[in-house]
Symmetry: C2
Subunit: 381 residues, 2 copies
Amino acid sequence: MRFSQARARMRSSLIRELLKLAARPGVLSLAGGIPAPELFPMEALKAATRRALDRAGPAALQYSPTEGHPVVRRWVAERLGVDPDWVLVTSGSQQVLDLVARVVLDPGDPVVVESPTYMGGLLAMNPLAPRYRPVPADAQGLRPEELPGEAKLAYLLPNFQNPTGALLAAERRPAVVDWAREVDALVLEDDPYGHIHFDAPPPPPLFSHDRERVVYAGTFSKLVAPGLRIGYAVAAPPVLEALIQAKQAADLHTNILGQTILAELIEAGELAPLAEQVRGFYRRRRDRMVAALKRYLAEDVAFSVPGGGMFLWLRFPPGTDTRRLLEMALEEGVAFVPGEPFFAGEAYPSARLTFASVPEDAIEEGVRRLARAYRRYLEAT
Amino acid sequence: MRFSQARARMRSSLIRELLKLAARPGVLSLAGGIPAPELFPMEALKAATRRALDRAGPAALQYSPTEGHPVVRRWVAERLGVDPDWVLVTSGSQQVLDLVARVVLDPGDPVVVESPTYMGGLLAMNPLAPRYRPVPADAQGLRPEELPGEAKLAYLLPNFQNPTGALLAAERRPAVVDWAREVDALVLEDDPYGHIHFDAPPPPPLFSHDRERVVYAGTFSKLVAPGLRIGYAVAAPPVLEALIQAKQAADLHTNILGQTILAELIEAGELAPLAEQVRGFYRRRRDRMVAALKRYLAEDVAFSVPGGGMFLWLRFPPGTDTRRLLEMALEEGVAFVPGEPFFAGEAYPSARLTFASVPEDAIEEGVRRLARAYRRYLEAT
């Protein structure tokens, strides 16, 4: 069979493969990136689904406009302070990454990414063969002074980043947008976690600093439920029109039953209390994980306490073989994601843990097993 | 803003623009391509949705495997006589066209399309800058003897094609597959309408003639409802693996609530009676439109009676300006789609009419208005 050059640049997500290992009986998985199913508002969703089918009738099942459901567009627009015409509802926010990559990137184009960055962003961009320009980050997020002299696109997750949990500091945000203006780069601001803040809400998005130059990507996956596959792009008209045309060709429109259910939740005022509940729920899990890490692993491994999101990032001493460590961890009955696939450039020994989908009472045991594996690893090497 | 070369090759579907005109009050639209909403099995869908949320619970709303829901995959696999591992559930069959284009096409690659062909197929392939090799069709479908000496991909709709309604004759099918083998082309067999047969079921699909070389694309849009956005690709493992990886990067997976609802319909045995109902319903509308065309337009305009599907294709005498005719038709209160955008190469004067979504009693009036517009057009030119 003859494939395209793009196909040769695609690969399966390592995480998918790992999750198969983590699904073995007896393994506590700190490896996933999925929301806690206990948080899905099942009763509200059932009621909203009934109302959606009763009130909208066949319109909840018919072909519908590519742009998206007006109630969903309006909710997003109000949140970002723009006209609803600036909003495109997508098949999850992953689709925003794919559509932006396609309308912006030609082979060889320079693309700024954080180091490390969200693996799914790399998977979306890889087929276009960009030249990645990874920019190092510290506890305050990406370091603006390290931004390169050229870029066509900058893919950034300023809020409680996947995988590190880092928040881009307020004072660094205008600097990033200024840089984008200077080098004439489009910024893709991916913000799946901004609403899951534990201590204080994040600073205003990059989008608020320059609405013409920043595309904002959001999702309902971590607020309502990911299986609906509903995300959104917010962008100025020329960019949004390009994304709409790309989406028409890609899948015509986002499933309208899911959008209509979401519209019912929005109109019933369910989202704000839900967001509050999500924050409290994950805050407790974060606290448990941080306490366990301090107790069992702090001597050997560096981490910072994430102020939101679903992830916690561990840095191991130079030379640590995290694949080998993962094998030992699986033997001890715990799984994590080695950091390497999150780097577009040079990686350092690291691991992503999630506290989101692990039962609260199992978090300590999971970390204890990881610490045990790490001690065994140190002894064996 | 700096866009990609692919973006410059994207455009909005002419049909979308036309449908806005056709939505004016008083206009009978023969222009759309949407199923009749009266056919959506609302009560069965409501019950299936309740069952989906009650029985699957949070699993109907969580991240789920890219490949798709096992019940849906099994149903498709049984229909095509393959293992369920050969099936990928997609966000509508439009996504199959997009994914296949991306894993197969590099700029300049020769691509066989029927002349005319489905516009959405062209929209999906255009960004990859293929060299189209349009192959003429007659009442028996594409003429195999006109197939070119080279092609990387052949995009074909053998059953009740959109826009012409033509069926690729049984005796031509092996010839097409033989040709594909000779020139080493992958065949993308797009079959949204095969189950909507009025007189006799279509011959076995191209896929059945060579399962390694043909990718089969299907959809539940015209059998259940399009707003669920559930379609599927069936392909041999190396091709399917490429499509799965491309889909992971594109949107992770197809919305699982819709898939779970569909699985409930499948397990309740609802699809076979539904298919029977769909056929009878559209058959009556086809008959009404054919009768009206014979009565009002047959002298001037050529058409063949479609044996299935949703469309009827008119050929006008050479030199007819169908855009001008459309303007006059809108003045008379009827809309159709001019044939031109369905051609990748040279077009001839033509129009696509749908009988699917027009109330049965309005079909005759719609055709009468079109005939009146056509007479006015002839008088004015």
